[in-house]
Symmetry: C2
DNA sequence: CGTGACATTGACTAGTATCAACCAAAGTGG
DNA sequence: CCACTTTGGTTGATACTAGTCAATGTCACG
């Protein structure tokens, strides 16, 4: 079914040497194989990507895209989480989003990067040069279609976030975040509320949360404490939150009247 | 300017096709013919679009896309300006952007509209059904690529706006807005500041401005007054602002240290 | 067991929202 | 043509949310 022989006949580009693995099997082990761009592709198509990509493994806290620098590469996250952000000269920071396995980075890139990206934990990713992207588009137009889908989805998220940042109160922002994060984690049915007592893991620090929601860490902490005091959530530990009354959270998040 | 410039170059020699003369000449008069999607197309291609489109003329204040309603159509603005926004049940509103001639609407659409659109003045637009869009994509894949560019540019804008809404003070938001609006108006070289005394027209009410910048009309008014008092701007009348010291405005907008 | 990083809580402040008065321009109708 | 109303904008007084500054708490780690 797949033309593995042909694929492995070709010489691989530099990057990390994956020794005696074939492209397809290497990608099979990848956290992104069934997500995002790669999910749109067949095994031999993904093999093409594999050969076009340079694979990288980065330690936590690495800034691998820097706002203002020439935008040389596109990235696809294989494992680990990444924060995307913009900064002001005086240090104020706004996190514009998070990217996990399968997420494609570089959509909002012009000649210069317009945002920065930093690993939140050890991260593996595939890196593509501009030229590689070109040839991939030429070879597999479906990628373009897929990227358009991704971009449109990003736009939807962005607009939600603009509403949150521009018009919601602190407690509403926290409630909104908890619900959206639960959805992201559960991949539950669209629109459905997470079931009560569903526990979610926050790989984010309070600082990240604050910079994502346009608040300070103190306000984030206080808001979470309020929700706890009101019995809407439980906080077993710093990186875990249990949603006790998702409906009540939703009422707060959407400012139900 | 737009993101994938190097990848997507749509300029083509203009070829007059007699078969589509009607369409081509009709579109020639259109404010959008040399912008956005239509700019990517030759005359006969645009003729195809012309036949696929339903043309509408709407009075000021018409909400023609409503958040939550089934997303049946895509739109291309021909003349006039449109505001895009999201609302909370209690009436709070966040304007997520404005669309003028040549702007394509519907990028952030899933099955349901995720935002609303309202005409700010009399508006003419081309309306496409979902089916029409699909057939257009099939016929002219270049459209998809162009849409990707548009979407990517929108993403860049969105991220800037998130930084503004999440982290900037009132006065910084106003300064940022004035500069970006001047750029939009002048279509000046990227990064260049508008020259002093360049006058800009704001077709927006203070309410629109407030809902776009995540402020109240009072704060907008006060911030403008402050800038006037400090001699950075002049306000000949409600809908006109003269930038006296763009550099000073820029220092405020970007929080220069 | 001490140290440092991160989180929570408290006291106070600042910036923006709210409420209200006032103003100017643009209708509207006698 | 001129009062009267309406609409949108500005300005002032006050309230309140979230920010700032500071002390305390918690946990992981050497």
């Amino acid at each position: 079914m797949t033309s593995l022989n042909k694929i492995t006949d070709f010489r691989r580009p530099v990057a990390i040497n994956l020794a005696n693995r074939t492209a397809a099997s290497a990608c099979d082990d990848c956290g992104a194989r069934r997500h995002g761009l790669c999910d749109a592709l067949s095994d031999d198509e993904v093999g093409f990507l594999f050969r076009a990509a340079q694979r990288q493994t980065l330690p936590a806290g690495t800034v691998f895209i820097e706002e203002g620098e020439p935008a040389a590469y596109f990235y696809n996250v294989n494992s680990g989480n990444v924060r995307l952000f913009k900064s002001l000269p005086d240090g104020r920071r706004q996190i514009t989003g998070f990217a996990g396995p399968g997420h494609f980075l570089g959509l909002a890139a012009t000649e210069k990067n317009v945002f920065s990206a930093e690993t939140m934990e050890p991260v593996r990713l595939c890196r593509f040069s501009r030229a590689a992207m070109l040839s991939m588009f030429a070879e597999y137009p479906i990628l373009e279609r897929k990227l358009l889908d991704v971009a449109m989805h990003e736009l939807v998220i962005s607009q939600q976030q603009m509403l949150l940042l521009g018009r919601k109160t602190a407690i509403e922002r926290i409630a909104s975040f908890l619900l959206s994060w639960a959805e992201r984690q559960d991949v539950c049915a669209s629109g459905a509320l997470p079931k009560p007592h569903s526990s979610l893991t926050l790989p984010l620090s309070r600082t990240d949360l604050a910079d994502y929601l346009g608040l300070t860490i103190e306000t984030v902490s206080r808001s979470l404490s309020n929700l706890k005091r009101e019995g809407l959530i439980e906080i077993p530990n710093i990186h875990e939150v249990v949603l006790l009354r998702p409906q009540a959270l939703s009422d707060i998040a959407e400012a139900a009247v």
